[in-house]
């Protein structure tokens, strides 16, 4: 039997599958290039081109002198399939950055206690971030997470770390995302943060995320500048 797919793309798929299945875990190193070449009886150059492709696709990050580390949570792809945020800025070479506006512990008020299904005054961790693309503000994200979801929740730098990466690293497997899109007239300091005039119409998207035991692990309200981001969907 002959398989016509080149070896490097077969290896690429193999590693990708191991990342997606969780065999290679987020933040951990995958076997060295030498080890991979040995295991599968293939050339080092072949291994290198597979690794390069995986790096380009964002699945792994090369750390000089340390090895190749798993970086991409599987979540991102499936999310984008269902509901896309496409930046209207230059696709290539766009530099995304998050600016942390606030993070800290707050008590669940009436509405949040209903959303999370918890008692009032239950501690929640709140993270407010401004997402920038090429230094221009794209959206303001106001996120709540149960404070007791995992230890050390307040010691993470959320301006550089994705919340979903943190979830995955702490063994929280996400199952369901319920998002609702509506219109909203932005005003006051939120308008200032997004560099918009008062009462400018923006997208407002809420996202309620459940883990595998149906616990609400996240609630986010995003205000999105429609001049710079377009929301698309596919109906089937």
């Amino acid at each position: 039997m002959q398989n016509n797919t080149p070896i490097y793309s077969q290896l690429e798929k193999l590693i990708k599958d191991k990342i997606l299945s969780g065999e290679y875990k987020f933040g951990e190193a995958i076997p060295s290039e030498r080890k991979l070449a040995e295991t599968y009886g293939i050339n080092r150059m072949t291994v290198r081109s597979a690794i390069n492709n995986l790096e380009n696709q964002g699945y792994i990050v090369k750390v000089h002198g340390k090895g190749n580390f798993v970086s991409s949570p599987k979540f991102k792809q499936s999310f984008v399939e269902g509901w896309g945020f496409t930046s209207l800025l230059r696709e290539r070479g766009i530099e995304h950055k998050d600016k942390l506006i606030f993070s800290g512990v707050e008590e669940a008020n009436y509405q949040l206690s209903k959303i999370f299904g918890v008692e009032r005054r239950t501690p929640l961790f709140r993270i407010v971030r401004l997402r920038l693309g090429d230094d221009e503000p794209l959206r303001l994200e106001d996120t709540y997470v149960p404070y007791d979801l995992f230890p050390g929740i307040e010691s993470i730098d959320y301006s550089v770390t994705s919340l979903y990466d943190v979830f995955q690293a702490n063994g929280i497997t996400l199952k369901e995302f319920r998002q609702v899109l509506s219109s909203y007239l932005i005003h006051d300091f939120k308008a200032r943060l997004l560099d918009l005039e008062d009462d400018y119409p923006v997208y407002r998207v809420t996202c309620q995320t459940m883990d595998q035991s149906d616990r609400v692990v996240e609630y986010t309200v995003s205000l999105i500048n429609p001049q710079k981001t377009i929301i698309t969907t596919s109906l089937k």
């Binding site: 512990v105 008020n109 998002q179 609702v180 119409p201 969907t233 596919s234």
Partner: protein, 244 residues
């Protein structure tokens, strides 16, 4: 023990909004019910008048409350939730929600494709298209303006139908054997133009959710380009993704 820190982000308006939401919920105030006077509410909720005023306008912004033409503050009708992943006719969806949809045809006719229509339908500028401009009403209130364009050479006899009664998609299916199967959509948020304001009976400050949709049939052929403008105060769009 968790120490709750005072922080700078929580705004006083968030507290008053929360109190007002709780008040509306626990009193089960029905749609169109008038809110008590600001003076009375401010006493009931223990919230200052300016903070309450701000909270009321935030809840109008969110579509929980509404302002009548005579400036009374009332409980809004709940927003209609439309799904963002399934192809379903507007009429059928609204009936399933217990609402009575009615269509008014503003224009129906054979005409020439605009630049936008031509590019979406893979036609050249000025190609013949059937254009259907409808105003969709729910329970008698105008809520959605929809302009659909279809290539005339695929559907040459659409003019024979009265689309204030007939469903466009049913005609395509029954008469032409074309099943509208998938639709790629883009969402925009915008203010109404003067024509929108007149048709929907709204003022210039009411945001619209605009959907640009390209519909494909069972063979992947692009059969329709549509622009829908929906009242932002009355509709929201839901997407549920489940990871298997």
């Amino acid at each position: 023990m968790v120490r709750i820190l005072k922080n700078k982000y929580t705004l006083t308006s968030e507290n008053s909004i929360d109190k007002l939401m709780e008040y509306i919920d626990i009193h089960h105030l029905p749609p169109r019910e008038r809110l008590p006077s600001e003076r009375k509410l401010s006493e009931l909720l223990g919230v200052s008048r300016p903070a309450l005023h701000q909270a009321i306008f935030e809840l109008i912004n969110l579509g929980v409350l509404a302002q009548t033409p005579s400036d009374e503050i009332i409980i809004a009708e709940p927003k209609v939730l439309r799904n963002m992943w399934k192809m379903r006719s507007f009429t059928k969806t609204m009936r399933a929600l217990g609402l009575t949809p009615k269509n008014k045809v503003i224009y129906a006719g054979m005409t020439e494709a605009t630049k936008e229509e031509a590019s979406a339908l893979n036609l050249t500028l000025g190609s013949p298209v059937f254009r259907l401009h409808r105003l969709r009403c729910l329970d008698g209130t105008p809520m959605v303006i929809e302009v659909a364009a279809l290539p005339a050479k695929l559907f040459p006899r659409l003019l024979e139908h009265d689309f204030s009664r007939a469903s466009l998609y049913s005609v395509l299916e029954e008469e032409y054997g074309t099943i509208p199967l998938t639709q790629e959509q883009e969402f925009l948020i915008d203010f109404p133009n003067p024509a929108d304001m007149q048709l929907l009976g709204i003022d210039a400050k009411e945001p619209l959710i605009v959907q640009l949709g390209r519909t494909a049939d069972q063979n992947g052929v692009i059969i329709e380009y549509s622009v829908s403008k929906t009242l932002g105060s009355r509709f929201e769009f839901e997407s549920i993704s489940v990871i298997e």
